[in-house]
């Protein structure tokens, strides 16, 4: 029984590790989409962030400089998205797609040109990465049966960026629902005319939203290559940006539900990794592919209106014309 408990705790622990980039990207998508800008470019910004973080960390030896440059790169892509969607009123899906393709081409191309290792960065040493933070009193509390292992596995021992991601959720919720900026941001995604007639710039609000999205995706990218992994490998975002987008929709464009969707999707991925090839009584071999596809299936079912109604922001996808 104790063993089962530990297995369960380890899976939950892995869930947080897997869910960290999802949570950050989901909050990023939330800012962008609540302001009325469709953001399928989460994936590309995440990938660009991962690449730049690893590249800068390996050349300068500083993980902090890496994450900073990752944020700058991701914001750069976000500004391209903003320039196309806000300034030039281009198609937001097309722009997002262009950014995703650009990111997957540019990262590999530049990686090959810089390092000649087939599109990877050199492996990062311990000092060039964000390593798990051990909280005080782990050893002392370990003596206590249940509390000790929960404290050790769940609360302590995560990466700094995981804690940042967990913090990003209440902060985002606060910004959305308790600040003037958040109110205007939500308004500009529902009825931009109203915001405009109140004398607030629609374009500047939306630009700020996509910039925030860029910052969060940059952090998530740095997590992939300099915290969870030890270096960049090609296509390392592997659809996580899209899963985060799915979580935003599954959470009906609200921070806490989207957060729980990220945890759910993270749990599915973490447990499918553990269940690979495991025989389950009655079911047979664990259907890991099905578990990996479940987030996408759930979103389709939700969008079909079978589990509640998902109402996107009213003005999403529509360029604002005075």
């Amino acid at each position: 029984m104790n063993d089962f408990m530990l297995q369960f705790l380890l899976t939950i622990d892995a869930t947080f590790r897997v869910a960290t980039p999802l949570i950050l990207c989901a909050m990023a998508g939330m800012f962008s989409e609540r302001s009325g800008i469709i953001d399928i470019s989460l994936e590309g910004k995440l990938l660009a962030g991962a690449f730049v973080a690893a590249t800068v960390a390996t050349t300068t030896g500083s993980a902090w400089l890496g994450i900073l440059c990752a944020i700058l790169a991701s914001v750069g892509f976000a500004l391209v998205h903003g320039f196309a969607c806000i300034t030039h009123r281009g198609n937001q899906v097309v722009s997002g797609l262009a950014i995703n393709i650009l990111a997957s081409g540019l990262t590999v191309t530049i990686a090959i040109a810089l390092f000649h290792q087939g599109g990877q960065t050199p492996p990062l040493g311990r000092s060039e990465r964000f390593t798990p933070l051990e909280w005080p009193l782990v050893e002392t509390l370990n003596q206590i049966p249940a509390v000790g292992s929960i404290y050790r596995e769940l609360i302590s021992g995560h990466n700094l960026i995981t804690y940042i991601a967990l913090l990003a959720v209440p902060v985002s919720a606060f910004i959305f629902y308790r600040t003037r900026f958040g109110l205007r941001l939500r308004a500009v995604g529902e009825l931009p005319q109203a915001v405009d007639s109140a004398g607030v710039s629609v374009a500047w609000l939306r630009y700020r939203a996509v910039i925030i999205a860029g910052i969060l995706c940059g952090i998530a990218g740095a997590y992939l290559s300099t915290a969870q992994g030890a270096g960049f490998v090609r296509e390392m975002s592997a659809g996580k940006g899209y899963i985060a987008l799915a979580a935003v929709i599954f959470g009906k464009w609200r921070p806490y539900p989207a957060f729980f969707a990220c945890l759910l999707f993270g749990f599915l991925e973490a447990s499918s990794a553990r269940l690979q090839g495991v025989e389950i009584p009655l079911i047979g071999e664990a259907p890991t592919q099905l578990m990996l596809a479940l987030p996408y299936i759930m979103v389709v079912v939700l969008l079909a209106g079978f589990i509640g109604k998902a109402n996107p922001p009213a003005a999403i996808g529509q360029p604002y014309v005075k």
């Binding site: 281009g90 995703n100 650009l102």
Partner: protein, 372 residues
């Protein structure tokens, strides 16, 4: 802000796309220069790789075939104002359809039966994969962009499960089906021409290219010469107006998505029946997404789609040459070019509209003034 005078038709159809393309290539050239290579020699290597070597035209047209199918898939949905990002998944499922037909019938029937059935199966499976997003858009208002993205990932999981499980070749580790019987091979042009003793360099170009050309003609007839095409464009222009004119909008949406999925599924006739002769993981390798760039550049018209497909075919084939000739740039550069083209001729399509129309208007006005 003064509104720009309307752009003349020829400028809108030819000049603006060319300017957008040049802008995209210019940015890529700057990137290549920043990576320390000469953009002009890169360009000449790509052009040589795409057209000049003996087998290169065949390879270029082989890629072109894929892009015609996926481009048509995106374009037909665009005409009904829908964005089908699911070409990738639909083509993947099309491969499953072609593969099942080929594996099931290949050993027992002649090519005259196997090949048509396999081609139809690829279209049907692609259409079936597009049906659910189409139905949900038409009946439940679920946004087709999101559902088709989700269906790409679901298709990917499904195919991994099938190819690593029920369909895997017995005794093999790699996730792919057994090789088909030769009856299910779509003949290659080099073989066909060799049989009438014309010698051309071997290339993967096969009969599906002819099918792709037929699909272009079919597309033109369907969209502009049939009653359904009229309904399709009416729905695309204004759903409410179409509804009040008595058009069954949900029906048009669903049928359009079925046709779109069928076009995407037909891509598998080239890859699976023509070249690979077995179903393998990720054989679609992004061609479905390239279809979006093709449709955008080709302005959703068959002639434009053919030209854009040829351009991307040349880019893919020529891009492969970059690996051999340069240290610092590889075929991934093609992805960058593709991304830039989507950005400039899609998302920023009208960035040059205003300056260009002012410029043209000023020239035309000056001419008028001189004439007077």
């Amino acid at each position: 802000m003064k509104s720009a005078p309307p752009l003349p038709y020829w400028a809108d159809v030819i000049l603006l796309p060319v300017i957008n393309l040049l802008a995209a290539l210019l940015v890529c050239g700057v990137i290549i220069a920043m990576l320390g290579e000469n953009p002009f020699s890169a360009l000449s290597v790509m052009i040589k790789g795409a057209f000049v070597y003996p087998s290169s035209l065949g390879y270029t047209l082989y890629y072109t075939t894929n892009f015609i199918f996926t481009g048509l898939a995106v374009a037909i949905a665009f005409h009904a104002m829908m964005f089908n990002i699911g070409g990738e998944g639909q083509a993947y499922l099309g491969g499953l359809g072609a593969g099942l037909a080929a594996l099931w019938l290949g050993a027992d029937f002649s090519p005259l039966i196997v090949l048509p059935v396999a081609v139809i199966a690829s279209a049907l499976f692609g259409a079936a994969w597009a049906f659910v997003p189409g139905y949900l858009q038409a009946k439940r208002g679920s946004h087709i962009v999101i559902t088709t993205i989700m269906f790409n990932f679901i298709a990917s999981s499904l195919m991994v499960w099938l190819l690593a499980g029920p369909l895997i070749q017995k005794g093999q580790q790699s996730p792919q089906t057994p090789t088909f019987d030769a009856n299910a091979f779509l003949p290659k042009f080099s073989e066909l021409l060799a049989s009438v003793s014309i010698d051309v360099a071997r290339s993967p170009l096969n009969l599906s290219f002819v099918l792709a050309l037929a699909a272009l003609v079919f597309f033109w007839v369907l969209v502009w010469k049939t009653r359904f095409g009229y309904e399709l464009r009416a729905v695309g222009h204004n759903q409410q107006a179409a509804h009040y004119a008595g058009i069954n909008v949900p029906r048009v949406i669903i049928i359009t998505m079925l046709i779109s999925g069928a076009f995407a599924g037909l891509m598998a006739t080239n890859e699976i029946l023509g070249v690979q002769h077995k179903v393998l993981l990720n054989f679609t390798s992004g061609y479905g997404f390239t279809g979006i760039a093709v449709a955008l550049m080709g302005r959703n018209h068959p002639v434009g789609i053919f030209l854009a497909s040829l351009l991307f075919g040349a880019l893919f084939q020529g891009g492969a040459e970059l690996d051999f000739e340069f240290d610092s740039i590889t075929r991934e550069m093609v992805l960058v070019i593709q991304g830039m083209i989507i950005l400039f001729s899609g998302a920023l399509a009208y960035m040059f509209n205003r300056p260009l129309s002012h410029f043209l208007a000023s020239i035309l006005n000056r001419k008028q003034a001189v004439n007077e």
